[in-house]
């Protein structure tokens, strides 16, 4: 894949390039600020963008803003945001722009294989949310929350769903049959009063939008 990286720390930019290079992805541009990102995307038309949240010039959430602007312009461009913040409010705007987006904590890159896997899933139009962010969302206790109705196993399945994993992947992870996972998913969607949705990322998005609607 042809990748554009936006990250203001030289150290992390180099590290990312190295990891992507090892898995035979081509880093066509590595930039250090938001305007640079927009320019690099226009010039190289990459297959996926990997961007930091906090970047120059303002050192606030320019990277995320740039990602949202890019998505508004090219809704099909997959974007993976790497962040130091577990707050879901950063992720939610991005998730609303549709499939082909991801929000991962930066240290997740250290799990190199998983990171590359997540990158592939986002590039293929999937939705990936960092497990830590999902866990925080799910662990938020609420009064009369339908989440309280889920069994422990169903929670686990929901977490993995939110990470953008397929039923097969969830089955492998939990060491159960795929049929069992399909049953769990159906039960979760029913308990959360969500209508069944055809593809993975819509399923995840539905779940997350539901969670946020509760906030």
């Amino acid at each position: 894949m042809r990748v554009v990286i936006a990250e203001d720390s030289v150290l992390l930019r180099e590290g990312l390039s190295q990891i992507l290079g090892r898995f035979e992805h081509e880093v066509v541009a590595a930039v250090g600020d938001a305007p640079g990102l927009a320019a690099a995307v226009a010039e190289h038309l990459p297959d996926i963008v990997v961007t930091d949240v906090r970047m120059p010039p303002g050192f606030r959430d320019e990277g995320l803003r740039a990602a949202l602007a890019l998505r508004a312009e090219r809704p099909e461009l997959p974007i993976l945001v790497l962040s130091q913040y577990v707050e879901q409010s950063y992720a939610s705007e991005l998730l609303q722009t549709g499939g082909g987006v991801g929000y991962l904590l930066k240290d997740r890159v250290g799990e190199v294989a998983e990171f590359i896997d997540a990158l592939d899933r986002v590039a293929a139009g999937g939705t990936v949310i960092d497990p830590e962010v999902v866990r925080r969302l799910l662990s938020r206790r609420r009064e009369h929350s339908p989440l309280e109705r889920l069994t422990e196993r169903e929670r686990e399945v929901l977490e993995l769903m939110a990470e953008g994993r397929s039923n097969g992947a969830i089955a492998r992870r939990l060491v159960v049959s795929e049929a069992a996972v399909i049953k769990h998913v159906g039960s979760i969607l029913a308990k959360l009063d969500l209508p069944p949705a055809p593809d993975d990322h819509r399923r995840v998005r539905a779940v997350l939008l539901y969670l946020r609607g509760e906030l």
Binding site: L11, I19, R60, Q84, E87, D107, V109, G110, E111, R141
Partner: protein, 412 residues
């Protein structure tokens, strides 16, 4: 101590104190100052009129009101004779050095024109200040001396009303003279006190203004602390956090090259360290507050809380950074207290903007009995809120519920 309070005391104490003499000194030196000022005005004014055909002359006329600034400075010093309270100048410091900014500021300031008004009044009233003590002192001296004068064959003529030329009558005059002098001391003290009060009213910066200045400087200091926290947060984010993340990436790559349990362990430790650092940084200053505002930041607090927290934040805009931070940390501390002490099953955070106030209310259904100042951190929060003129109130009867309400003046 002022001359007024001195007069209210026991008359003997007043008469034997230095206050009557200070009053006389104050009244007597006043006309000297007035005459001096009038001389200056005369010179400047005359020069201005003479040079009026040239533009310089008109400029000089502008200086006439400015001469009152000098007079006012002298008057504030003279005020110390009668009034021990400090008498700060009402003028502001010019923003830039040099005489032009100074001149522009002074001509625009209301204080300058108040001082000019005082100067004109002062010059007029200066005549009274001369006449009254003169009549009192000369009149009473003559009365007191009447026995001596009559004894030497003089006689005192009171216009058409009468003549004193008998020793018996003279002794009555002496008594009247002493009485006149005592009353006169009071009259002069009243006159001096009134003049001093007028000077204080027109020439001295009001105490309320001082309070505003102090308040503003406290808020400035709190803002500076806030900026410092943000700087530390930024440094940690750009420094230690990035380096640790880099280390985790490198360890990930190393694991690909040569899988090893030690590398796994090292990576886990590094990730744990990063997670701790992330929590620490969020405690110093949450970037979600800066980036996304109060609502998102409070949601994030609620996400992390082990008790269900209902968040209801509706604001038409964003408050000033200092106020926003104060509100955020109040909520953070209040929720921490709910978790630590209240044994509550649920809590609710409400934030609204009502009638120029930012209103924050944190309520829980716990056991109550919370008190400010018991190491709860509430006192610190109250101080922090007070800096922005806000109030913090706590209602926590035994058995609950506990309600913490903070109101901070704030325009949105």
């Amino acid at each position: 101590m002022t001359v007024w309070r001195a007069m209210a005391r026991n008359p003997l104490r007043f008469l034997l104190s230095s206050w009557p003499w200070r009053s006389i000194a104050y009244l007597a030196t006043g006309p000297l100052v007035a005459v001096g000022w009038l001389a200056v005005v005369l010179v400047v004014g005359a020069a201005g009129v003479l040079l009026a055909p040239l533009v310089v002359g008109l400029g000089l006329l502008l200086f006439v009101p400015l001469t009152a600034i000098g007079l006012a400075a002298v008057e504030r010093r003279r005020l110390r004779l009668l009034d021990a309270r400090p008498a700060p100048s009402p003028h502001r410091e010019p923003a830039a050095p040099g005489w032009r900014p100074w001149l522009r500021l002074r001509l625009r300031e209301a204080a300058t024109w108040r001082e000019f008004g005082f100067a004109l009044l002062f010059a007029l009233l200066g005549a009274v200040d001369v006449v009254v003590p003169f009549v009192i002192i000369v009149g009473s001296s003559v009365q007191v001396g009447s026995a001596y004068l009559v004894g030497h064959g003089d006689q005192l003529q009171y216009g058409p009303y009468g003549t004193v030329d008998q020793p018996e009558e003279a002794w009555v005059g002496v008594a009247a003279g002493v009485a006149m002098f005592v009353v006169g001391l009071y009259v002069m003290a009243v006159l001096a006190g009134a003049r001093a009060a007028l000077a204080r009213l027109l020439l001295v910066r009001p105490v309320e203004d001082e309070l505003v200045a102090v308040r503003a400087s406290r808020a400035r200091m709190a803002d500076a602390f806030e900026a410092e926290r943000r700087r530390i947060e930024r440094d940690l984010h750009d420094g230690a956090q990035q380096r640790l993340t880099g280390l985790i990436m490198t360890l990930g790559l190393a694991r690909l090259e040569t899988p090893s349990e030690l590398i796994d362990k090292a990576q886990q430790d590094a990730r744990a360290a990063l997670a701790e650092l992330r929590d620490l940084v969020r405690g110093i200053h949450p970037s979600v507050l800066t980036d996304r505002g109060l609502r998102a930041a409070v949601e994030s607090l609620a996400e992390g809380a082990p008790v269900p927290v209902e968040v209801d934040v509706e604001l038409p805009g964003r408050p000033d950074e200092g106020v926003e931070s104060a509100a955020y940390f109040v909520i953070a501390e209040a929720l921490a207290n709910v978790v630590k002490h209240s044994e509550a099953d649920r809590a609710r955070v409400l934030v609204r903007h009502q009638g120029r106030l930012l209103v924050v209310e944190v309520r829980d259904d716990g056991k109550g009995g919370a008190r400010a100042g018991e190491g709860s951190g509430l006192q610190g929060l109250a101080d922090r809120v007070a800096v922005y003129d806000g109030t913090l109130r706590l209602a926590s009867p035994p058995g609950g519920p506990t309600i913490l309400r903070v109101e901070i003046p704030c325009e949105l």
